[in-house]
Structure formats: C-alpha cells, structure tokens
Amino acid sequence: MSTTDNQLPLWEVFIQSKSGTPHKHAGSIHASDKNMALENARDIYTRRGEGRNIWVVLSDQIAASKTEDEAEFFDPADDKVYRHPSFYKVPDGVKNM
C-alpha cells in the first residue's frame, strides 16, 4: 500500500428521506473535512431527491456490537415478557386499553 497517496478519510452517511422519519445509513464516502463529506454524500447518495437531510460521521468514530455475539449480547431482554402488553390480563368487558 502506498504511503504517499491516499483517498482521504472515510465517513459514514445517514440520510433522512422525509420530515419525521429517522436518518438511515446509506453507505460511505471519502472526504477531507465535514463540508466535503456532506457535499460528496449529497452527490453520491441523493441524485434523485432521496433525501432532505444528511448526517456524516467519521467511520472510525462508530462502535458496533458483534453479530456473532448476538445471543449473549441481547439476552438481558429475553426473559422479560412483562415488558409487552400482551403479558397482562385485562378483565373481559374493559374497553379502550
């Protein structure tokens, strides 16, 4: 790998498509700073009006859980059925609950 040339830092791109909806991961781009990252993200991921707002974040700033540890990582929620409304008995005849 060459050390004299590089393709600029890597950024992850999140796009909000409509007001009220969450930003969704779209992919990544290379850029030297925040402004270039936003402009590159716009040119690469929203050429057909796919977005109304963009977030960019340096890829090395993201922490991720491991899918292979999925079972252990998420198991604290596994035995808590009482977090769901269907756990509870509501007497027959009670309405609007």
């Binding site: 040339d5 393709q7 992919g27 781009i29 690469i44 050429r47």
Partner: protein, 317 residues
C-alpha cells in the same frame, strides 16, 4: 467467545437461512477474498466504463442528449463509489484497490475495452451493455454479503433509465435515414457478441462459479443469466427492425428460448488478457488522471489540518 468451529457453523447457518453476512461478522478467509475480488472488479468496471461514453459527451447531437449522457456517466461514477465502499468494509483500502487496478492484478469487465465509434454506439452501450449488467445486477440483489446486496438494490433502481435512454437512441436512428439505420445496425453487430460475453465463461468452464454459488455470492449461473438476457433482448431488437448478427440463431418453441450460435471464447480470452482494442488506452487514461488528482487530495488534507489547528488555537487563546 466462540470456537473456530462454532463460528464456521454460525456462518454456514446464516448462508443457509438467507441471513446476510455483515462487515463485522466472522467469515471464512476465502469468502472474504472472493467477495473483495468480485466487488473491486465490479467497482473498477463501473469507473472504467465511464470512458467509452465520456468520449461522446462533447459530440452528443443535441443539448438534451448531452445532458442525458452526462447524467448517465455520473451515475456510473456513483455506482463505482458505492461498490468501492462496500469492498472497503471487508478491510481493503481504496488505495490498494486502485493500485491493483493499475498493476493489472485486478480486472474490470472486458466489454469496456471496445471503442465507441459512432453515436449509435452510445445507444448500443446503454441498451445492450447496461441491459446485460441489469440482468446480472438484479440477480445480485440477493447476494449473501449485506453491503453488496444493498449497493445492488440502489444501483438497479438507477440502471433502468440507462437502458431506456440507449434504446431510445437506437429507436430514433432506426426511424431515421438509411445511413442512420445502417449506423445503428453496425453498432448492434459490434456490441452484440461482447455483451453476451459479459456474463463470463460457460458454466462448465467457469473457475469460481461453484464455490460462489454455494456461498450465495452468485445466485444464478453465467449461462442462466446470459439466456435471460438473450430472450429479452432479441425481441427488443426485432421490434425496432434490427437484425441480430447471428444467422443460425433460432427460436425453440418447446423451451420458448432463443438458441444462439457458439460464442467465440477465444476473443474473450484475448480481450481479458490485455489484447482488446482499447485495454492500454483505458488503463493509461485512468493512471494519468489519478496522478493528476494527487495534488488536489494533498491540498484538501492540508486545508483540513490547518482548519483544525486554527480551531484549536481559537479555543486555547
């Protein structure tokens, strides 16, 4: 922590049950290597593919045609970037990929080593080359690697305009003067066979197909995809009065498929191994432009460093 065996079992179970493999997931080295090879080759093809069409931007016959061609080429650049990003999630850097392209270690689709000689070639490229790419890419939307699959979904949405604009050019020319018709037919004659070669060697000779199908990197074989393209495209050609340059092609009533003459795989091998009409031109152009852009990348980085320094002094003062 899992044992190596548990990891492999988990991976195989994901493949089996159509659960996508994601960047941080454990995967066999050979899967990673195959995926990197395919993704980088696909990305390089999108980028090198901008060259034959770029050749016609300044000679497009109308402002409308020029704007369409520019938008199409810009999409192809975007496709390259989506795919480079997907490859980077597997641990290869963009620099390495570009170095491998320049050294010849990484390949790109042999189709882009043919020249775009007339305006009708722009029609034939959009209709046939993008048309073939679409058949392949629709199938790849179901590939097992998550980032590749998502890039394919995005790319497929953008591709259908590429094929339509090409077919529109061909249709216009086939409704034109005798000379224009001749030009369209000539482009058809030159691009037909190379487009069929885009799907790669026949199944019984394809080096990577079997393992790739097992891992669901590829979902359908070269020959299946090629036949699908033929059956769609021959009717489109006839509809506007173009002749398929294959005298012995015939329609099989029982299979409802077109049977074509044998493909000249010797030509394919020659072009892939560097002896096509434009191999040298395509690669040397990419190397030249990449070198020319070096100072821009350096300046952008220096600017960003300066800005951060300035900000730091602002806060400490």
């Amino acid at each position: 922590m899992k044992t190596p065996e548990e990891r492999l079992n988990h991976f195989n179970a994901c493949i089996e049950s159509e659960v996508k493999i994601e960047p941080k997931d454990w995967m066999p080295d050979e899967y990673r290597k195959t995926m990197i090879r395919q993704l980088s080759q696909h990305a390089h093809s999108e980028v090198i593919g901008m060259q034959p069409e770029g050749n016609w931007v300044l000679r497009a016959p109308s402002l409308r045609a020029k704007k369409i061609l520019l938008a199409k080429i810009q999409d192809e650049g975007g496709h390259g970037l989506y795919l480079y990003s997907a490859a980077e999630t597997l641990g290869i850097s963009r620099d390495e990929m570009i170095e491998q392209l320049h050294s010849g270690k990484a390949k790109y689709s042999s189709i882009f080593n043919y020249p775009a000689l007339t305006w009708a070639d722009i029609g034939a490229i959009g209709w046939l080359v993008d048309g073939a790419a679409i058949v392949n890419q629709i199938s790849l939307q179901r590939t097992s690697y998550g980032p590749y699959s998502r890039a394919m979904v995005r790319i497929c949405k953008e591709e259908s305009f590429h094929q339509r604009q090409g077919y529109e050019i061909m249709t216009t020319m086939m409704n034109g003067t005798a000379e224009q018709k001749e030009m369209a037919q000539d482009a058809m004659n030159r691009w037909w066979w190379p487009s069929l070669m885009m799907f790669g060697p026949p199944d019984n000779e394809s080096a990577h197909t079997k393992q790739s199908m097992q891992w669901k990197i590829k979902r359908e074989s070269n020959d299946v995809l090629r036949q699908r393209f033929i059956d769609k495209t021959v009717d489109q050609a006839h509809f506007i009065g173009l002749t398929v340059p294959d005298k012995n092609m015939k329609f099989n009533e029982s299979t409802q498929q077109y049977e074509i003459s044998p493909i000249d795989w010797e030509e394919f091998k020659q072009v892939i191994s560097g002896n096509g009409p434009c191999n040298h031109k395509r690669l040397s152009h990419h190397i030249k432009v990449h070198k020319q852009g070096k100072w821009v990348r350096e300046a952008a980085l220096a600017f960003s460093k300066n800005q951060q320094k300035n900000k730091a002094t602002l806060f400490t003062n």
